[in-house]
Amino acid sequence: MGAMTTDRDTEFRIFMAAVWPRLLRTAYLLAGDQHAAEDLAQSAFERAYAAWGRVSRADDPLAYVRRILVNQHARSHRRRPPELLVTAVPESAIPEDGFARSDQRSALLSALAALPPRQRTAVVLRHWEDLSDSQAAAAMGCSVGAVRSQAAKGIARLREVAQLKELQEVGRVGGAV
């Protein structure tokens, strides 16, 4: 039993160390800030460990844990309003200006935070995680059609943000100077 636990722990530790950066970033885009992301990601991994037998037997353990994370995030959203990463969206930005790019990134994150939870999740999974519609649907526990719809609405709302319109004129979003 002890050896079984050791093997289990070792397997889990290797897995978590490997995928932590990626899922932490996903959690950040879903949760809205560093600390909330760390809490969300850690919580997902705690649950993954508790169910490691199932997770490790899954064909794609990362997808399994991502689904746990998305479910965790959805539950937390049912209990509290979405948080904003910045207090306000700037009125305008000056193209090619470093500060402006930073503002643009803030504007993008603010707009993302303002999306309804499922739109936000669909956008993050499709356009950050780069999942297919079916993979995103599996992670969200909904249909492919729902993912398409939610992602399309989310992207449309992001593109409505004035400052993000300017991004298209500049030809890029955010970025370091």
Partner: protein
């Protein structure tokens, strides 16, 4: 990119509102998200904390019963479940992969209310039977066998216990404690649900469906709870797609014995009329759909995965026999 063309007609960098502009804008947003994500400070993975937390969860298995019973909430609208692929007693039947209209929606056999103790009487009969305490009594579940088979020479059943929606928080707490008593009797180490948990997790108008396994007539501690709209729930609260939340439930005896069987449980929407799965050995199994009865419109797909087997493809059909998309690719 992904159905965005024409959405809002926002002019992109490349011109007035064309598909290319829309795709370009979406790509820019994608790159913006990537840059934002890169801004996260990534330290060492808190493996120790995750392991400790995971052990705590396992030890107290869902500390707040509310989080378990009510928190694994998933809104599902239909239900019916199952069929299976697991030995001669399984409900699944090998069929050609080609699909035709053959809607199979029928209630599974109802299991009598179990007496206190881990043993669950074998399921017999068919049709829907209200709980002994009356129609839709939140404190008494109506149980339906949604799948059965044999594995390693042991007979297993997947049972869905439908607990009707509680009327208020007080009743929700009583219900959670009743469910907890059952889970605890089955070997779960959950702690008793509290009023605080109910305050946080209870969702009015939602039936609770607790799916668990029995092996040789003994209920296993591993289970999964779903929420599904109670009859008469407001429109829009149910499952609109072909498939909803799913879970893999593995038989887990004392001492965390490796499960001889994994059982897939997935809520399916009202549009689904038929389901089949093709295994990597080329055989295809029909997965009948059954309802839970007692007024619930939920429908479920339940299927076991034989040892060593892997699913290669799923096929869902609507009630007219036309193929429809589902999201079961995560289960192989």
């Amino acid at each position: 990119m992904n159905g965005l063309d024409g959405v809002n007609g926002l002019d992109g960098a490349g011109g007035p509102g064309g598909a290319g502009a829309a795709d370009g804008a979406t790509a820019l947003i994608g790159s913006g998200l990537a840059e934002a994500a890169e801004a996260v400070r990534v330290g060492p993975a808190p493996v120790g904390a995750a392991v400790a937390g995971g052990r705590r969860i396992r030890r107290r298995r869902r500390t707040l019963v509310g989080a378990v019973v009510l928190g694994s909430a998933v809104l599902v609208a239909g239900a019916g479940a199952v069929g299976l692929h697991d030995g001669p007693a399984a409900a699944g039947v090998a069929v050609p992969a080609a699909g035709g209209p053959a809607p199979l929606v029928e209630p599974g056999p109802v299991v009598p209310e179990p007496a206190v103790g881990p043993a669950v009487p074998p399921a017999v009969g068919s049709g829907v039977e209200a709980s002994p305490r009356g129609e839709r009594d939140p404190l008494s579940a109506a149980r339906t066998v949604v799948g059965e088979g044999t594995a390693d020479g042991r007979a297993w059943k997947a049972v869905a216990a439908l607990w009707p929606a509680a009327a208020d928080r007080l009743q929700a707490l009583a219900q959670a404690r009743t469910i907890w008593q059952e889970q605890r009797t089955a070997g779960s180490d959950l702690t008793e649900p509290t009023a605080a948990a109910i305050d946080q997790y209870w969702q009015p108008g939602q039936d609770i469906v607790d799916v668990y396994l029995t092996v040789d007539g003994v209920r296993m501690p591993d289970d999964h709870t779903f929420l599904t709209p109670a009859p008469g729930a407001r429109a829009g609260t149910g499952l609109t797609g072909a498939t909803g939340e799913g879970a893999l439930i593995g038989y887990r005896g004392k001492g965390e014995t490796e499960p001889p069987v994994d059982v897939l449980v997935v809520a399916v929407g009202p549009s689904v009329g038929r389901a089949t799965v093709t295994w990597t050995d080329g055989t295809t199994s029909e997965v009948p759909l059954r309802g839970l009865g007692t007024g619930s419109e939920s429908r479920w797909l339940v299927m076991s995965r034989p040892a060593g087997a892997k699913a290669s493809a799923w096929h869902l059909y609507d009630r007219q026999g036309s193929p429809i998309a589902g999201d079961l690719g995560w289960f192989k």
